[in-house]
Amino acid sequence: MKTISFTSNTFLMPQSESWKILKKNFLLKFNSLNNFENILLDNNSDFNVILLTIQDLIEYPLYDLITKNKNLKKKKIKCIFDLIKKNLAQKKIVLIIDYFYPTHFNRNIKNNTIEDYLIHYIQNLSYEFKNNKNFYCLDIRNIFFRNNEKYDYRMQYLTTSRYSNSNLKSINIIINQFLERIYKPSKKVIILDCDNTLWGGVVGELGCHNITLGEENEGKAYVDFQKSLKRLKNEGVILCVASKNNYQDVIEVFKKNKNMVLSKEDITLFKVNWKNKSDNIFEISKELNLGIESFTFFDDNPIERDQVQKNLKTIEVINPDGDVSNWATQILDSTNLCKINFSEEDKNKTKHYHNILKFKDEQSRNSNEKNFLMNIGLKAKLINFSSENKIRALQLIQKTNQFNLNTKRYDEKELQYFSEERKNKIYLFSLKDKYGDHGIVGLTMLRQKKEKMFIENFLISCRVLGRYLDSWMMKKIFTYAKKSKCQTVIGKYTKSNKNDLVKDFYTLFGFKKSKPKIILNKKEIFYICDVNKLNLTINIDRLYK
């Protein structure tokens, strides 16, 4: 169970029932009021949440302070921000700032912008570490606003707490959503419908220019929904369309309707025909080489949703709100889709998948597989693990399902710990070919113990399967093993629900199976191979020049 520690300058009422939501999944630890120094000493928490209500941190009269042009330098806030800055290297810090004005500030007329000055000052401070990967900032006012909640000003005068129970509940929800986004494996694909989902009305009846989409009324809502989708696409989610329609009609909308935010290139796969939707989705999963469990289905029609859920049990089906105007936020609120950390590679993901499909298409047309592979200019590169590629390495570990021999999900701390051991090695592999730069797609973690080299982890992203990258990686591992004077290389296979594909992976390379061991309810099978007896079925050097 993950631990979260809370520090705040307001009393958070730890015993209150409002903390129920978080207490279900996490261990909560409440530091005493204003004890910000405690964050320094606390080494056990996975996250440090700092909640600041700014009104209590500023000493009044503020007005004097600003008119006399004094700096806020030595004030409390500055000290807290300095503390945060010091801690950011080792600790994950979630900052929640509440800018609500004290009652004697509450005027509807803004004059002389004392408030503005204050907010500007705080934003500047937090802007400094905006790009730090251990720093997160949550917007509390947005959720209060959306839940239609007001501050209970009585609480200011009665208690040291600034929040009522329902306020605390909202805070719970926002933190819970945030943590879910970090710890849950995220979905990779959204399957979309066309009519009444991407636009209003039926394109087959209305024609591509008369559908509800654009600058007016309901049309605006559909545009915003598409903007949300586009944003998700840029964060690395793949968009696919499965719709019962004429293919020509749908493509015409994408090409000719000027109000469309999504272009044809944003959609990885179109399955527009009159077939069953679940069949279409199954085909998409086969073509993209991704399991159904990483799919999300969005459709306005409840009958279709039921049918898809019934036939494909592991798919996530979103029940859209009855009103289109809520869809844009609803899809962004879905914790499975929106990630918090995304790497450069995510931005080009759709392009990558376009390339995969092209690769597959050309591969199926060529009868001689090896000749075909030799002509596409494969180039692989071995990269040492460093802080720059840490996010990508973590992503691979968290998300790869099929070509993953151990399916052990290391988190950031564990990975860092592993890499710091002297005899351990983490290698990353990137791949380039005619179809584009695939980026980092392979990872292996090696541990040396005397004269044995253990392969602790071996995985390849499924989008580059069929290129014999595994053989190339294995060759590199053996060269490294020889270099460090090992006699044997030992591989390990742990069965999971999804990695049947690599069941006999090690035997293909001439490893010999030893007796299975059962560790923590998981069956682990060890494979042993002599360092000089690697058996490669193809001539790797001719493929990878």
């Binding site: 009585r154 005068y157 009665l158 208690t159 009522s164 129970n165």
Partner: protein
Amino acid sequence: MSKIINLLQIEFNKHFKVNLKKKNFLNKNSYNFNKWDSLEHIKFILRIEKKFKCKFLVKEIIESTSIKKIIKILNKKYM
């Protein structure tokens, strides 16, 4: 009047996790009942507010330190 008392008694027993009879319950105040401290007081009042769908003034919250006073305030609100 009796309806308010009954409802309040149920809420009181639930909140402080006790099982008091009516006569005993009516005598309670923050001095003779240990569990009733300042924090629980606020929480209890907020609970009553939710149940009775009304709002206490700050002054009323501070004053209502016994069951009898709470009943008096509630009565005033429903008259």
